[in-house]
């Protein structure tokens, strides 16, 4: 009976550890999606399309969602609405600040300055994405290992 319990406890606590690492992976994935979608948007803006048309043409899910809410409150309000969704809760404060500044200024600048803001935001987001990806891998491994060790410890204590 005890022999059966040890692997079960190890697997259960290992999975619990992996699920703790999941939030880190989700954050890295979200940042990667933002980098991808904002890069596509930049190309459309470079061609001179107005925001709504540019967002539609990227065929990216997040941008299309934001585009639907541009009227009547404007682009920043549309972004805030999209960012209030639960999946954005994984973002850290520094990431929110970069995104808030980017969306706040979107559409209010001349083309040259707008493209510069895209470059700045993308550069910051790529750095944050790489850090998040690295952290996600480390944390996933760490929590997975801790879970297995905890399972093993529980098994030993019960022996």
């Amino acid at each position: 009976m005890k022999l059966l319990f040890v692997p079960i406890a190890m697997a259960a606590l290992g999975l619990a550890g992996a699920s703790l690492g999941h939030a880190y992976r989700q954050r890295a994935r979200l940042l990667a999606q933002l980098v991808r979608e904002i890069s596509r948007l930049k190309e459309q803006i470079r061609l001179g399309y107005p925001l709504a048309a540019a967002m539609r043409q990227t065929r990216q899910p997040l941008l299309q969602e934001i585009e639907k809410n541009i009227a009547p409150q404007g682009i920043y309000a549309a972004w805030q609405q999209a960012a209030s969704a639960e999946r954005f809760a994984v973002l850290e404060e520094s990431e929110r600040q970069v995104l808030d500044r980017f969306w706040r200024e979107l559409g209010l600048l001349d083309k040259h300055s707008q493209i510069n803001r895209f470059e700045e935001a993308l550069s910051s987001l790529k750095t944050l994405r790489d850090e998040a990806t690295q952290k996600a891998a480390q944390q996933s491994r760490l929590y997975g290992a801790l879970g297995i060790l905890a399972g093993l410890s529980v098994g030993i204590l019960l022996w």
Partner: protein, 291 residues
């Protein structure tokens, strides 16, 4: 009652207009920072509502530009932009030279000209226009663009292949590739390109029977139109001038009237009124009567 064209304007402005309940179709809406809104229709001209603050003016401008200032910066440097519904918005404000280019840095007031379709507005002259190259002249706000739109529609419906060079994107008001104004089923629209470049391009690539364009300006425009006429394309265009005589006095239009166009239609207020038609016979301009 006909649905007002201004209903498509963005919310901050539409709310102001709804509060005023304009009694007739609006032709122009003028907004000035710190002043009340001015509404102009066929017969009315009134100022009304609460004064528009600078912030409200910028919010309305931003919404009219679809929250995409960068997309209109070239037009803004020339003092206007055109909304997606084909409403031309003239802007007054402060300009500054930035990197050798004239840039608008602050908007003080806006004049929004409501684009409309007036089906049948060309009925009085369409039979004469069918085989002639025609210049439509009038002071601003008399309906030149509206008349061009109806001429395009009627000629296309009569079976002619029409091409429109819509430099300011207001004749056809194309949105996502589709004209929001009815300019006919046999009509192609080229937008946003100047006449010296656009007219030869259209003649070569679209082979139109009739070429329609708005607001001829300088000598380069005139040369491009003359070239198109020499290629055997019928041209119908508009220009700012109070009369044929005034058009003749404009250097860039004189050569066109001498060697190009053989019909001139003069418009006057109220918008859409054709005051006089002139025809050229054996090189001499004669009045062909009021319509």
């Amino acid at each position: 009652m006909e649905r007002p064209a201004w209903e498509t304007l963005p919310q901050p402005l539409r709310e102001r207009l709804l509060a005023e309940k304009p009694e007739e179709q609006l032709y122009e809406i003028r907004l000035r920072a710190g002043r009340r809104m001015q509404l102009k229709g066929r017969t009315q001209d009134k100022v009304c509502g609460a004064p528009v603050s600078s912030v409200q003016l910028m919010q309305i401008a931003s919404a009219l530009m679809e929250y995409s200032l960068y997309a209109w910066e070239d037009e803004l440097s020339r003092g206007y932009f055109t909304t997606q519904d084909g409403f031309r918005v003239g802007v007054a404000g402060r300009y500054r030279m930035i990197d050798g280019e004239q840039r608008l840095i602050d908007i003080h007031s806006m004049c929004i000209r409501i684009a409309r379709e007036m089906r049948g507005s060309a009925d009085a002259i369409i039979d004469r226009v069918r085989k002639r190259s025609c210049l439509i002249v009038s002071p601003p706000g008399c309906g030149k663009t509206t008349l061009l739109r109806d001429i395009a529609r009627q000629l296309a419906e009569a079976g002619q292949t029409v091409a429109i060079l819509d430099e300011r994107c207001e004749i056809a008001a194309v949105r996502q590739g589709i004209s929001t104004m009815d300019v006919g089923e046999r009509t192609d629209v080229v937008e946003g390109v100047g006449k010296p470049v656009g007219l030869p391009m259209i003649v070569r690539s679209l082979a139109p029977q009739v070429l329609i364009t708005d607001e001829l300006g300088g000598d380069a425009d005139a040369a491009a139109v003359l070239d198109a006429l020499r290629c055997g394309v019928q041209v119908i265009a508009s220009a700012h001038a109070a009369s044929l005589d005034d058009a003749m006095a404009r250097h860039s239009l004189r050569s066109l009237l001498q060697h190009g166009f053989d019909m001139v239609a003069e418009l006057c207020l109220p918008p859409g009124t054709i005051r006089m038609v002139h025809m050229k016979e054996n090189g001499v301009w004669r009045e062909a009567g009021e319509t």
